[in-house]
Symmetry: none
Subunit: 200 residues, 4 copies
DNA sequence: TATGAATGAGTGTTCATTCAT
DNA sequence: AATGAATGAACACTCATTCAT
């Protein structure tokens, strides 16, 4: 009768993806069974196939869905900042924070999907490139404003920055006893990269 | 009795590992079968179990064996250099060159081994930490000599540098049409990191 | 209230059976899903279970319904004929014509239903025996009238005649490029059988 | 050391086919599981896949193997006979006898394979046509010798004869309480067909 | 009546591992 | 040491059937 009834159940597709993230993060994609995911999502095995073509599709769907969220968040935050130096710092901080907040998700994306040649080779990874191009944009902006070295190659450095930040995030996620804070890491990385591509 | 017997067969263990590297790089660890490896190594399926405890052990053995080679090579080269700045440049260049030279191996180590949280979690990865500590040592050396910023945290930055270099290498290996040379990448990275941690 | 309501929907049970015939003829009973049939009949999966106990029951219903039609048609036509020789010719011609006219149906009955010993064993096939007995009746009639050999055993020969005609029909249905007409086949068969059981 | 050791175990492929015939005859192809066959053959499930590509291939292999035996036997027997009339009688008798002797096999071939549109459509059935052509040859021979009617079409009648004999065989195999003997059936059929295509 | 989302038992097939030779 | 046939546990996926709406 009223708005409350519109979505009496949370989107089941979403529910399955969330359960899968936990399972995959825990046991790894190849060592998880579809039955594991189903049990964790509290649905029948067959139900998963109503929402996903197959097990691979489930992983890829998680990836795409998450990357959209990541990209949206990062892009939104960067828009409010003018200085490319601050943008780089923000980007790094945000990436680490997001990873911290969504640890299981980060683990699945980084380890289970991005690391798999099967997926990297067979599946054209547009979302990932979109994310990378955010960094490239910032570097180019800085070069145009005369803040960054003309010799800095945005195509190469975007990947280097991503690699560094992502590796930090990976370590941080896998580390049981945290030896440093996300903030420290963000500062160290930001300082290094900003100095590294600064004009002087 | 004569020369023929010197190395009648190359070490069969080695032969299997080399074949496995090719197979795993091509199809991925989880999508390769022990029979695939056996066929490629031109031995019987069962023979593999004379040299390796199981399929996982084969992957780990490849990793340890390769890391030893990597570490030995890098450590040897760095010993001949005095200036920590040059050492960083050398480290970066060498890592990229080694990856270029051993593409299949690099792919397996990077992608297939790191792929699974199973391996990252269950298998204490000493060789990897040893490799990382090489970078850390160089940074500490540079700080002691007053060449690098005191504020630079070697524990954090070793991982960042590794992450950046490794990501570049990964991209380079997976890229079909190479858009830049290993040398360019090495220069870009070296310039950035050296400036990034330099005193001024 | 008005003409529109006379047959607002063709009997839905009939509609499902007709759709099923097409689907089963195309893909085979065991390789067709209930969902296939439902889609083809333009009803929901569950609706099928309002009209049929289960998938098997659907097949058997098709069979019974068709056999009733077959038997009715054949019996009606034979009634108008006096001479047992002509009756045999009519029977053969009619069977082949009916198969030609209802190819999908014929295929399902012949192939898919007989296919499984499950059906042949578990399901007492009264309609089929009724059909067979039509032939037997004609032979007996001919023997009584002294037209057919006394040595001809109607119990055995009814089955032989049916087998021959049905095999011809099966071939004809499965043949893509028709190499002979139904009429030719009917003549050849009729000539053979009539001579075969004739007195002289 | 001697000939006894040549085949210490009966060909395992053969063993599996024989077990499968029993299982398929009992429960039907689609209602039998590979595990059923394995258990019956006293091998592991996986073993079946060392000898057959998949479950379908097992059925087809049974068919081809049996048809070769059938064809060989029939062809051999017919060679010793001169008169085409006697050849037809022999063919009919032999077919019925073979079916009687290999009841399970006959059931599988007739019902499970030949009756399945899936197999009839997808699998070009050379052995079956070879068998049919044996009959055709006999009819043509009889026509050349002036024993059979010129108006008899061998292409059509070979199928009719086969259909009649096969239907008799099917009935006989499925009949629990035998109401007539194989010999009676063979005589009835032979008499009918020989008279049916005879010159006078 | 009709729907179609959900179920979960069932199965073909794969493949790491063993072991008799 | 080496083989490769055999094993059988494991798993992704399908689909007949049900039932809340």
């Amino acid at each position: 009768m009223n708005g409350e009834e519109k979505k009496p159940v949370i989107d089941k597709r979403q529910k399955i993806m969330e359960a899968a993230v936990v399972v995959f993060a825990d046991k790894g994609f190849y060592n998880s069974t579809v039955a594991d995911v189903a049990r964790s999502a509290d649905v029948a095995d067959g139900t998963i196939y109503l929402y996903f073509k197959n097990k691979d599709d489930l992983l890829i769907s998680i990836f795409e869905h998450s990357m959209e969220m990541f990209i949206g968040t990062v892009r939104g935050e960067l828009e409010n900042i003018d200085n490319p130096r601050d943008k780089i710092r923000k980007f790094i901080t945000l990436h680490l924070q997001l990873v911290q907040k969504h640890q299981n998700l980060a683990q699945v994306i980084q380890i289970e999907l991005r690391q798999s040649s099967k997926f990297m080779k067979e599946y054209a990874n547009e979302k990932f490139f979109e994310y990378l191009s955010l960094i490239q944009g910032v570097i180019e902006e800085g070069k145009e404003q005369g803040l960054f070295r003309a010799s800095a190659d945005p195509v190469i450095l975007k990947r280097a920055i991503f690699g560094a930040v992502d590796e930090m995030a990976l370590e941080w996620v896998l580390m049981r006893k945290k030896r440093y804070s996300i903030e420290e890491a963000a500062d160290q990385l930001s300082d290094m990269f900003i100095r590294g591509i600064a004009l002087l």
